[in-house]
Symmetry: C2
Subunit: 414 residues, 2 copies
């Protein structure tokens, strides 16, 4: 497999406020064509460090990609430094300057003289046009190695890479293509899941498997690099089928879908409708459901009944229930779901009430105590949970648990 | 100023799914004590590349910090490789092994023999205890340089750095401390804001200013490094006062507060209450408001009236209004806010109705058309906006605009 290094240039990327997202995007594109990223560097507008970084990368790796530092100011050092690291001069291109002048003219402005710097390119490099900005990119092939110099803004970098770099790298990386699948699983921890499914995936040596925990679910990432994409797909399909046999309904997504997409699809397929009554999640479940385009065909209504008064007035939870069992109780959760379903006239309603913290916990009901209610035309049920984490995580995990509980009830009915 | 490099170790950090968050956290801590981060590297479990990376970093920088690769498996190469890069041996510590055995015993398990590897440390390095995991850290001072080797999991790395590394680095970085402030501004673009406030901050050469756009607001980051923290604070206070004079109520946060925190504080100070009626934002406004601990004292109730039926039944929007003007209109937005306020009996109510896309737009009302409604005891008002972006951004910007509209109305009343 060909190896690559990615170098992000810019002092702003070394502050706590900014993070380099280009390298994640590039890593995914490179993986797809069977190129392995071996190192990533973030370096400021610092000529000496950048030159050393590019030079070392060219020694070790087949492909070196830099992003950023191609603007017109003195801080933008990548053009000259990358040339130096590759042992080349920079040369001036009249036609780039003419093109830039024309662009500025179209915006109704005179080209500032400072932009002339952007007409210098590494000697012998292919010039990569930039329809979305003033900085051209460069690709230098030398001694079997590639040095690709791209601008920093993603909307300039991404189309430049896809239109002018990807095919060329694909042709040298050979016939390798990578097939990838992401599975999502609820109700298991990382290691318990791994124990269950490792005998399956370990039988397929050519498929790379990684297991990642992600807030409230475990993801299984499968990828296979080979010259035969159809065969890779078949192998991955086999693994997925075997994992599905072992996990049953705990495997909720076979193609990277989110929980809200999966629930939405189930409702859409059945032409059924949903309403939601939230307390501690404060709108998060509604927000997630309506994140999905087209959700208006199954999601009808939600209420955020934060106060006891709202729980009584809007959902018809009785004063006695609240007084006897408390707002955070299975009785209240069930009454909320029933009241919601009655008021909205939907096929299903779910509810959440709990203590997200940091305050409000007691010995009997500590922070993280959450009750989920469910109602359909025949049954009302609840689920009690004790969730770990801070306020953010408890709210997120409550929303996930409520959607998952609904999903499992719908599947049971079918 | 002392310089630092941060090296994150782990092949999983070179996949598109995982991002290195440790280096952002460390950068912030180092900035606070006046240490400048000059380079960041992410490297896989690759002995040769890691050794070269650490060796080069030690040549160039005063402080080199690695995170990750200290586990007990063969993939965990940082212990041996960092020793080699520093020209040292690793030595075995019986007391670390004894301590590890005791930890495992407390968990009711036998220590696997593989964990013995974690009892090796770089010769001459200070051992950094890890109450949250099995990997100790190491700090080597050599020739005026620091090599700090930390575990990867943030909940192990962060307390180790704060309790055992920070003070030591602070003592060598001299008397420098950094004062920072983040301001948040609504209603301005990046460059328009910069034009207005650059004459102010440019008069303070020792204060670094950067302006960042962040989904729906512009942030102004001010920082001053000096040996006199009181003087830096005074300078930054002066800048903030002058910016506040120019921007008025557009400057909504002087200390990095979020919009939902600012609105919550206004309501809490006035002992007033709020309810929210959402359509296209689907619960996002409720979710943001209730993200703030203690929000139950002012946020009473929300409804997510996604269907027309819910808008009529729950909020009392008339069939005529919906038929004549449509669900996305100023009339519907106002009727939603009035209906919400009436039903919840709160001091204020806000509402949002709009077209978040990707579908549902028309020539007359394209995707991004959003109406915000506001009602208090005396007035009902609306705000019409045409927002750019995809579904995610339109929803986010709608929620921000609604909260900001409420904020400005509350301030006007006062």
């Amino acid at each position: 497999m060909l190896t690559a290094e990615i170098i992000a240039v810019g002092s702003e990327l070394l502050t706590p406020e900014r993070t380099d997202t280009n390298s994640l995007w590039l890593t995914e594109k490179l993986m797809d064509i069977g190129v392995e990223v071996k190192l990533k560097t973030i370096v400021g507008d610092d000529e000496a460090r950048l030159e050393e970084t590019i030079r070392d990368a060219l020694k070790r790796s087949d492909i070196v990609i830099t992003t950023g530092g191609l603007g017109p100011t003195e801080d933008d050092v990548t053009r000259n430094v990358s040339a130096r690291a590759a042992g080349r001069e920079v040369v001036y291109h009249d036609e780039i300057e003419a093109h830039l002048r024309e662009r500025f003219r179209q915006w109704g402005r005179e080209m500032p003289e400072i932009n002339k710097r952007q007409a210098f390119v590494i000697e012998g490099a292919e010039i990569l046009p930039n329809p979305n900005g003033s900085a051209v990119g460069m690709m230098l092939k030398d001694d079997g190695k590639f040095l690709v110099v791209l601008p920093g803004p993603p909307r300039e970098m991404q189309p430049m890479f896809e239109n002018h770099v990807l095919d060329c790298l694909r042709s040298v990386s050979g016939d390798v293509s990578v097939v990838r699948r992401v599975l999502r699983v609820s109700g298991y921890g990382e290691s318990a899941l791994d124990e269950l499914i490792s005998p399956i995936y370990k039988a397929y040596g050519s498929v790379q498997t990684s297991i990642l925990f992600n807030r409230s679910e475990v993801e299984v990432h499968l990828s296979a690099a080979s010259s035969n994409a159809a065969e890779s797909s078949k192998m991955i399909d086999e693994i997925v089928d075997k994992i599905a046999d072992v996990l049953g309904s705990a495997l909720f997504a076979k193609n990277g879908e989110t929980m809200e997409e999966v629930v939405g699809k189930l409702l859409q397929d059945r032409k059924q409708t949903l309403s939601v009554a939230e307390s501690c999640t404060g709108g998060l479940i509604g927000m997630r459901l309506t994140d999905v385009a087209g959700s208006s065909s199954y999601f009808m209504e939600g209420v955020i009944t934060y106060s006891n008064d709202a729980k009584m007035r809007t959902l018809g939870v009785s004063e006695e229930t609240l007084a006897q069992y408390g707002a955070v109780s299975s009785q209240t959760a069930e009454a909320m779901a029933e009241g919601m379903r009655r008021r909205a006239g939907t096929d299903y309603a779910i509810s959440v009430t709990g203590i997200a913290g940091p305050d409000g916990g007691s010995e009997e009901k500590p922070v993280g105590t959450v009750y989920i209610g469910y109602a359909d035309e025949k049954r009302t049920k609840f689920l009690h949970m004790q969730l770990p984490g801070d306020r953010y995580l408890i709210r997120w995990r409550s929303s996930q648990a409520a959607l998952d509980y609904l999903r499992r009830q719908i599947l049971k009915k079918a």
